[in-house]
Structures are given as structure tokens and as C-alpha cells.
């Protein structure tokens, strides 16, 4: 055996080790205690796989007659550029902006997968030789899926960042455009498979159609559904990477890609389930999407009692048990530190404060946990829905901050968009205070009868300002 053959074998083993590390890492991310370590194991696997590839490239070059600088220039420049950008943005991003950043990383991953197939196809076209049907299929699938992921993830990221309007953007005839684009890709692909000769023009057409399809697919979906969409696109990227593995016949790309493709699909389903929606329903778009969704025009069905910060401060300061119910508004207002401050103040006065965490409060699963953790809220005070619900009946004040749908008793009756979603039993509390800016609706775009409950006082304010006022008022007591 030549040296190169030996290196090739060792590199294949290293890749397999990397793939195993991915699986172990992902497995350990299943539980909070081992999650961080799992991520490190996965990163270790990645390091091994990449280092082995570098060695393989060296070995191939030296068996081909010596070191050539250009590929190394490309690799080093690319790694420096991408690594620097990735490192900087990942470090600099604020906690709340993480989902859109993850989506951006997903976009470039999908883009890279598509580029591998594009490069391969350019080579085949230059050679002009016959393309085997299976090669053709994997190349086309890689390009289509990778491109959809690329533009789709960028749009999703933009929506979450607020650069693109979060509400569903419905272009008249948009469905037709989407259908036409799908038709172009399918017909183009079939044409390529039938002829078996590489045809760059057709491929460019398919590429363009897929890129636009990614945009038209994601635009009509409400900003609030973006986490599910991002997870779905994440699964797509995994699939595209597996296809790239088939294209360049590389086992580690196939294994890791399939792993992410499958686990991403399951995760998407879990996330959709947690919101009581189906993935299909979300992808068709149009439901909800922010504070001014359709149907948000009628006023509430009862009278609303407004309450001032001083009154609320007295209620809170002399309560025994207070349950804080955070929601999307808390995240929007970045009021996580403000709420911790108020809670600490109350605890100094001997009040028992707990947080009721609804699984889909906010706009991504675990949103409230991550947000409150950032503000160093003690972990044991965060209570899952099922644990806290029986405690509402015993609590003196439930302080709802920017949460709406997750407290809406309408969910207990059929016939409303939130029907069937389990909710926090806020209406069982002896007294209820809601901090929000207006009578604006939540994600589902429906009225909340909690606000017209006679036990409820509304403190109309931005969450951060309102909490600051409460803290000041409690201090002044």
C-alpha cells in the first residue's frame, strides 16, 4: 500500500470517529445536566474530522507531485473569513437575537452544501461527459434543497430581527408564483435526468427557481412561526449536506447530514406539537403573525379595570405568594433584569416569588427559560406549567407581564384558535395584575377574557417601564 492509501484509510476512520462524536454529543444534549458537555463532544468530533481532512489534502497533494499553494490559500482564507465572522457574531449577539443568528448560520450551511453540487456540476459540464442518473439526482436535490434553505433561512432571520415585517406578507397570486417555481424545478430536473448530459443553463434555471422559492415559501409565514420554520430549514440543510455527501461520495457528510436531517425533522414536529399546530398548517402560512393580525379589530366583551403602579406595589409588597407569568412582551421589552430586580426586592420583604413558565410563552420553545436565566433568576424559582398550575389557587397576586395567549381561558373552550392549548391557570389567583401596553392582542389575534375578569387590574405600560415603576413604588413604601 502507498502512503496515500494508508492516509486515506486513517482519515476514513477519523471521519467515523467524528460521526460517532456527533451522535454522542447530540444524545447528551437531551438533558440539561449533560447538554453543555455534549456540545463540546460534538465540537471535538468536528475538529477531528476537519483536521483529518487537512491531512488528507496534504497527502493527496504530495502524492500528486508536491505541495500546491492555491488550495491552501482558498482553505485558509475561507476559514479565516468564515470563522472570524462566525466567532464575532456568535459572541456579540444578544441573548434574544440568538434564534435569528442560528438561522443565518443555517443559511450559510445550506449555501455551502449547494455550492458543492454546483462546483461538481460545473466540472461535469466542462468535461461534457454523460452524467449517471443517480449522480444527477443527488446533484439536483442538493442544489434545490440547499438553495431553498439558503434564501429561506435568510428571510426567516430577517423576520425575527424585524428587518422584514413579521406579519404574513401575502402577495396577490403568491400561491401561483410558488406553484410555478415548483413546476420549473421539477420539469427542469426531469429534463436533466432524461437527457443524462450536463446542461448548465437548465441547472441555472433550477437554481434560480429554488432560490426564489425559498423566499416565497417563507415570506407568507408569520414571524411568530419562525422558530418552527427555522427548525424545518435546519432539517433541510442536514438533508442537503447528506446529498452533498452522495455527490462527492463522502461517508461523513452522509452520516452527519442524515443525522441532522432526521433529528431536525423530529424536533420540528415536537416544536409544532408544543404549539398545538401542525407543521403543514404552519408552512401554508397566514395564521397569526403579530399584534395586528386579522380579526383584531373588535373590542373586548366586557369592561376593563385599569390600575396604577402604586396600588399594585402595595398588593405585591404585602402578599405572601406572588407568581410572575412572563410572556412575549417581556422579551420584546427586554425586561428580564427589571423583573428579577422587583422579585428580589419582594423577597427581601419576605414575599415568596415564583415564575410560571409556559412551554410556548414567547416566540421560541424555552424562550422564557433562556431569557430569565440570562438575568440570573434562580433556577428553582422557574416552575413548569404542570407544577405551578395547582399553586395559582393559593397565590395572592399573579403578575402577568406581556403574556397573553398562554393565559387565555378561551383555550379551555372549543372554537377559538387557541382551543386545546394547555394554559396557565392565572384566573385561579386571588388577584391578577397584567402589565401590557394596550388592549393589543397576542400572537393568536384574539381577545383575552382574563382582562375583563373582575379580579384583574390592567397596568398599561411597556413591560420594562412598568416594572421599573413598580420597583420604585415598592421601595417607596
Amino acid at each position: 500500500m502507498t502512503t496515500l492509501e494508508i492516509v486515506e484509510i486513517l482519515v476514513r476512520i477519523a471521519w467515523l470517529v467524528g460521526a460517532v462524536a456527533f451522535v454522542i454529543g447530540l444524545g447528551r444534549m437531551n438533558s440539561p445536566a449533560t447538554a453543555r458537555n455534549g456540545n463540546l463532544v460534538s465540537a471535538g468530533g468536528m475538529t477531528i474530522a476537519v483536521a483529518a481532512t487537512a491531512i488528507l489534502i496534504l497527502a493527496r497533494q504530495s502524492s500528486d507531485g508536491g505541495f500546491s499553494a492555491v488550495p491552501w490559500l482558498i482553505i485558509v482564507a475561507g476559514i479565516a473569513l468564515g470563522g472570524g465572522l462566525g466567532l464575532y457574531t456568535a459572541r456579540a449577539v444578544k441573548m434574544t437575537a440568538m434564534p435569528q443568528l442560528v438561522s443565518l448560520f443555517n443559511a450559510v450551511g445550506g449555501g455551502a452544501a449547494a455550492l458543492i453540487a454546483i462546483d461538481d456540476y460545473i466540472r461535469l459540464a466542462n468535461a461534457g461527459s454523460h452524467v449517471r442518473i443517480d449522480e444527477h439526482i443527488f446533484i439536483v436535490l442538493d442544489i434545490i434543497i440547499g438553495s431553498i434553505t439558503f434564501t429561506g433561512s435568510i428571510i426567516a432571520s430577517g423576520k425575527l430581527q424585524g428587518l422584514i415585517a413579521g406579519k404574513p406578507i401575502i402577495v396577490p397570486g403568491g400561491q401561483l408564483v410558488t406553484l410555478a417555481l415548483a413546476a420549473v424545478t421539477v420539469v427542469g430536473a426531469l429534463f436533466l435526468f432524461a437527457t443524462g448530459t450536463p446542461n448548465l443553463a437548465t441547472m441555472v434555471l433550477i437554481l434560480a427557481a429554488a432560490l426564489i422559492f425559498g423566499v416565497t415559501m417563507t415570506l407568507p409565514i408569520g414571524g411568530a412561526d419562525m422558530p418552527v420554520v427555522i427548525s424545518l430549514l435546519n432539517s433541510f440543510t442536514g438533508t442537503a449536506v447528506a446529498m452533498a455527501g452522495f455527490v462527492i461520495n463522502n461517508p461523513v457528510l452522509i452520516i452527519a447530514g442524515a443525522l441532522v436531517g432526521a433529528s431536525g425533522a423530529i424536533l420540528t414536529k415536537l416544536m409544532a406539537d408544543a404549539m398545538n399546530r401542525s407543521v403543514l398548517n404552519i408552512m401554508i402560512g397566514g395564521f397569526g403573525g403579530g399584534d395586528d393580525a386579522a380579526g383584531a379589530v373588535e373590542g373586548p366583551g366586557g369592561s376593563v379595570r385599569s390600575i396604577g403602579a402604586d396600588d399594585v406595589a402595595i398588593q405585591l409588597a404585602y402578599a405572601q405568594h406572588v407568581i410572575v407569568v412572563p410572556g412575549y412582551g417581556l422579551a420584546v421589552a427586554q425586561a428580564q433584569h427589571a423583573v428579577r430586580e422587583l422579585a428580589e426586592l419582594l423577597e427581601e420583604r419576605g414575599v415568596d416569588v415564583k415564575y410560571a413558565i409556559h412551554p410556548v410563552a414567547g416566540r421560541m420553545p424555552g424562550h422564557m427559560n433562556v431569557l430569565l436565566a440570562e438575568a440570573n433568576v434562580p433556577y428553582p424559582q422557574l416552575k413548569e406549567m404542570d407544577d405551578i398550575n395547582p399553586e395559582f389557587a393559593r397565590c395572592d397576586v399573579a403578575l402577568v407581564i406581556g403574556a397573553n395567549d398562554v393565559t387565555n381561558p378561551a383555550a379551555r373552550r372549543p372554537g377559538s384558535p387557541v382551543s386545546g392549548m394547555p394554559i396557565l391557570d392565572v384566573d385561579q389567583a386571588k388577584s391578577i395584575v397584567v402589565i401590557k401596553r394596550s388592549m393589543g392582542k397576542g400572537y393568536a389575534g384574539i381577545d383575552n377574557e382574563l382582562y375583563t375578569n373582575e379580579k384583574t387590574g390592567m397596568l398599561f405600560a411597556d413591560a420594562k417601564d412598568g416594572l421599573a415603576a413598580l420597583t420604585a413604588a415598592v421601595k417607596a413604601l
Binding site: 456527533f22 454529543g25 447530540l26 440539561p32 447538554a35 455534549g38 456540545n39 460534538s42 468536528m46 474530522a49 476537519v50 481532512t53 497533494q61 492555491v70 488550495p71 482558498i74 482564507a77 475561507g78 468564515g82 470563522g83 465572522l85 462566525g86 457574531t89 456568535a90 441573548m95 440568538m98 443568528l101 442560528v102 448560520f105 450551511g109 455551502a112 452544501a113 455550492l115 454546483i118 462546483d119 461538481d120 460545473i122 435546519n234 440543510t237 442536514g238 447528506a242 462527492i248 461520495n249 461517508p251 461523513v252 457528510l253 452522509i254 442524515a258 436531517g261 432526521a262 433529528s263 423530529i266 424536533l267 415536537l270 420553545p365 424555552g366 440570573n376 433568576v377 433556577y379 428553582p380
Partner: protein, 112 residues
Amino acid sequence: MTAEEINGLLTNLTVFTLAILVGIAVISKVPATLHTPLMSGANSIHGIVLVGAMLIALAATEPISQLVSLIAVAFATMNVVGGYVVTDRMLQMFRKKVVVTKPAADDSEAAS
């Protein structure tokens, strides 16, 4: 396609299928709290496409191929590096909570 080519394809498909089964089995019962970090962790893993990007950079002789592979390497590295760092930051939150605040929580528990 020759029988040998089909056999190679079948081997790849076998590996692909098994990896899918692993992916499904591994994400069995995740607590909802971990959905976002887990998505982010899976997102880093498909950065493995960097290996493919490096290999096409090696084979790139035409300028167009070199440009494509440069972008592919940069994209893939951004996916890898950014992905792992941001996931670690998310998960750091989960750990810090337990470690730093447990005693504080016990105190408040005792006080109340």
C-alpha cells in the same frame, strides 16, 4: 449503471438509512426547554459540509471553481464556528443557573 456502481450506491444508502434511524432514536424525549439549544447544536453538526468544501477546494483548478470553493469554505466555517459558540453560550445559561443560584435559592426558601 454497472452492478458495482449500484452496490456502491446501496452501501451509501445503507449508511444514510442507519444515520436517519440514529437521528430519530437520539431525539426521543427532549424537554421543551432544550428545543432551541438542541436545534442550534444540530445546526452546528451540518457544518461538517466544511469537509466537503475543503475537498472541492483541493480539486479546484478553474477560477470559477476556486471562487465557489472559497465561498463554500467560508460559509461552512461560519456555520461550524458560529454554531458551536452560540450553542455553548445558550447552554452556559442553563448551567450557570443551577450552579450559581442554588445556594441563593435555598436561602430564600429558608427565609420565606
